[in-house]
């Protein structure tokens, strides 16, 4: 995109010595230079991040190798470190968050952009964006003092309806994978709602009118024309939500129970990668311990890329099928 724009002023019929400055005067060249360095900076920061994580985790990588990913033991006293319980906790809580937040968020976005009267839509959108600006420690406090007691109250209901599933068994103390997933869902909702709403609003009116002209009802035009048109943007909002959920630290550590065990039940406590790094890094002594925590950071980075990649692939295949 950027290249042809940049070259336009650089290709006058007669090349003069001053053409470069003429380009500067026009503003295109500096704009190109400035924006490309902005883009390069992002790539640079990412590369630097991976490099630093990789180099500083050398001690742990050499000692444990690939076993680091599959070991369930985290014992700072014995110097045994494994990432599996943390990977599990991160993935499960993020997945739960998306399962709750995606239908809610997309539904709310459709209402706000298509069905709600403009004044209601504007007020609600303002509130949603306000929600996105709340610091995560506040969500954490809310989770500890409001969400956890609430979940304990509705637990018997959940158990009687879904208790036959292995995911809703065992004792429930409130502080659990379940609580972490729910608070994450609340935290990522504003991202899904506000971006999806923007995307839905950007769908050309022609599309809606064309559908209506063909005899579609309001809902049919919304569900069968507008939403599919905005699918890419909605997917983008879900990716952003996923990224936030995977990396969220403070609110998660306050309610997840911080117990590095793998259990099938969502009622059991767990641990996430970001949470253990935040919890143990300051007091970690010795090269192997610190290096293992840094390697966990590297694992989180790889996990984010992997999950995003799989999700994108999934979208790509389903979209193709949908279009043909």
């Amino acid at each position: 995109m950027a290249t042809p724009v940049a070259e336009l002023p650089a290709a006058p019929s007669v090349r003069r010595a001053g053409s470069f400055f003429w380009g500067l005067h026009g503003g295109d060249k500096p704009a190109f230079l400035i924006t490309i360095s902005c883009a390069a900076a992002i790539v640079l920061v990412t590369c630097l991040l991976v490099y630093e994580l990789f180099v500083n985790s050398a001690v742990s990588r050499h000692k444990f190798g690939w076993d680091f990913l599959f070991s369930r033991v985290w014992d700072p006293v014995a110097g045994q470190f494994g990432a599996l319980p943390f990977v599990y906790g991160t993935v499960v809580t993020s997945a739960l968050a998306l399962v709750i937040a995606v239908p809610l968020g997309v539904g709310a976005a459709i209402f706000l952009s298509e069905l709600a009267p403009p004044r209601v839509s504007d007020t609600l959108t303002f509130l949603v964006e306000l929600l996105a600006a709340v610091p995560s420690v506040i969500f954490g406090l809310l989770a500890v003092f409001v969400l956890v007691p609430f979940l304990k109250q509705i637990e018997p209901v959940l158990r009687s309806v879904l208790g036959w599933l292995p995911t809703f068994q065992g004792p429930f103390y409130g502080f659990s994978l379940f609580a972490a997933g729910v608070i994450l869902a609340i935290m990522v909702l504003p991202f899904i709602i506000s971006i999806s709403r923007e995307v839905l609003l950007a769908v050309p009116t022609d599309q809606r009118e064309a559908a209506l002209a063909l005899g579609a009802t309001k809902w049919e035009s919304t569900w069968q024309v507008v939403v599919p048109f905005a699918r890419k943007g909605i997917t983008g909002s879900i990716f952003l939500a996923l990224a936030r959920a995977l990396g969220e630290t403070m609110a998660v550590t306050m309610v997840i129970g911080n117990d590095p065990k793998i259990s099938a039940s969502l009622f059991a406590p767990g641990y996430s990668i970001a949470a253990i790094i935040a919890n143990e890094f300051t007091e970690a002594t010795g090269d192997l311990y610190t290096s293992s925590l840094i390697e966990l950071g590297l694992v989180l980075f790889a996990l984010t890329i992997l999950i995003n990649g799989i999700a994108r692939l999934l979208i790509l295949t389903t979209t193709r099928r949908g279009e043909t």
Binding site: V148, G257, D259, E283, A284
Partner: protein, 346 residues
């Protein structure tokens, strides 16, 4: 971002001090970092000391004991602070990197207390070391376990499952607790061990004292450990623990100082001593010193003078203001021994 901001601020401060140094040559700025537990005390001390000597500014960052040991080893601060003594490996590293020895100076005392939430039990519970080890190992799982009933004949203990709560963040508070458990339970020593974070056999983790206290409050039939200072200031009730003399002692400033006095007779010259399970009839068994870490050779003459003077002040005048902040004072024998040790700083 925050890091850079502090760096910039520090650089600006330094520049300011340097500029001022041109006019008043006695200006001294010192930096320390480490343990969070004694931070309120240290902040107050450094503030009081600054008022006595306006030309001296001592900054303290409470980044955690592990961080304090790391920073003093790297030489990025003038002194460190830790809730657990440096181990031999860490001292070896320090000697290799800095080419000099490190000295430990006890400053105040702290203690851990067992806090619990058992519906229907209003009195303070008694805990034997065996009961605490059993609970935290996951072997004693019910509140009406014979070991608990034996120590609390009057309390109506329910038959509910015990929920264990521990710290999730690495902490000196954890270090003291598991150090005690290691001393009283051979099984704990071999299976779990002593460190600022351990591989807990059972339980939920809470971040910080407030995290543990919050979980205990919300989960019926739970038990956890918190710092004495935090429990006192937040009016959280806690239980008594049996000491080696066989009496159940409730943690307070006097019983914590008594534990240190009991350990003072056997105090090694480098002050690296654990006072958990200390002898003495009134001694509380889960107590600890917290230390300042100071290199024994300091190049900068002005800084050396300030540190030596501060240590003298802290051991004399400074100890007077300790109890106002709910910390326990050092026993006299320890103060006397430390005053001698100050002469090692060259």
């Amino acid at each position: 971002m925050k890091m850079t901001m502090t760096k910039i601020a520090r650089a600006a401060c330094l520049a300011g001090v340097m500029a001022a140094a041109g006019v008043v040559s006695a200006e001294v700025l010192m930096n320390g970092a480490g343990a969070t537990f004694p931070n309120p005390m240290y902040s107050k001390w450094f503030d009081q000391y600054h008022k006595l000597h306006p030309e001296i500014q001592i900054n303290y960052q409470s980044i955690g004991s592990g961080g304090g040991i790391k920073q003093i080893t790297e030489g990025t601060v003038d002194f460190g602070a830790s809730d657990g003594p440096m181990n031999d490996e860490q001292i070896k590293q320090f000697k290799e990197k800095r080419g000099t020895n490190i000295l430990h100076f006890p400053t105040v005392l702290g203690a851990d207390v067992p806090a619990y939430n058992v519906p229907g039990v209003a009195t303070d519970l008694n805990f034997t070391p065996e009961a605490l080890a059993g609970i935290f190992l996951g072997k004693i799982t019910k509140w009406n376990d014979p070991e608990l009933v034996k120590a609390n004949p009057k309390a109506k203990l329910p038959g509910n499952d015990i929920v264990v709560v521990h710290r999730s963040d690495g902490s000196g508070t954890t270090y003291v607790w598991v150090d005690f458990l290691s001393k009283v339970s051979p099984e704990w020593k071999t299976k779990v061990g002593t460190a600022t974070s351990v591989n807990w056999p059972v339980g939920l983790g809470g971040k910080g004292n407030e995290g543990v206290a919050g979980q205990i409050r919300q989960i019926p039939n739970s038990i956890g450990y918190i710092e004495l200072v935090y429990a006192v200031q937040n009016k959280i009730s806690y239980g008594r623990v049996r000491n080696p003399s066989g009496s159940f002692v409730k943690a307070d400033l006097a019983s914590v100082t008594a534990a240190a006095a009991g350990a003072a007779k056997a105090m090694p010259d480098d002050f690296r001593v654990s006072i958990t399970n200390a002898p003495g009839k009134t001694a509380y068994p889960i107590a600890t010193f917290t230390w300042l870490l100071i290199p024994d050779k300091i190049q900068d003459g002005a800084k050396k003078k300030v540190l030596i003077d501060f240590l003298h002040w802290m051991l004399g005048q400074g100890q007077m203001s300790v109890e106002a902040l709910d910390y326990a004072q050092l026993p006299k024998q320890v103060v006397a021994k430390e005053l001698k040790a100050i002469t090692k700083i060259q």
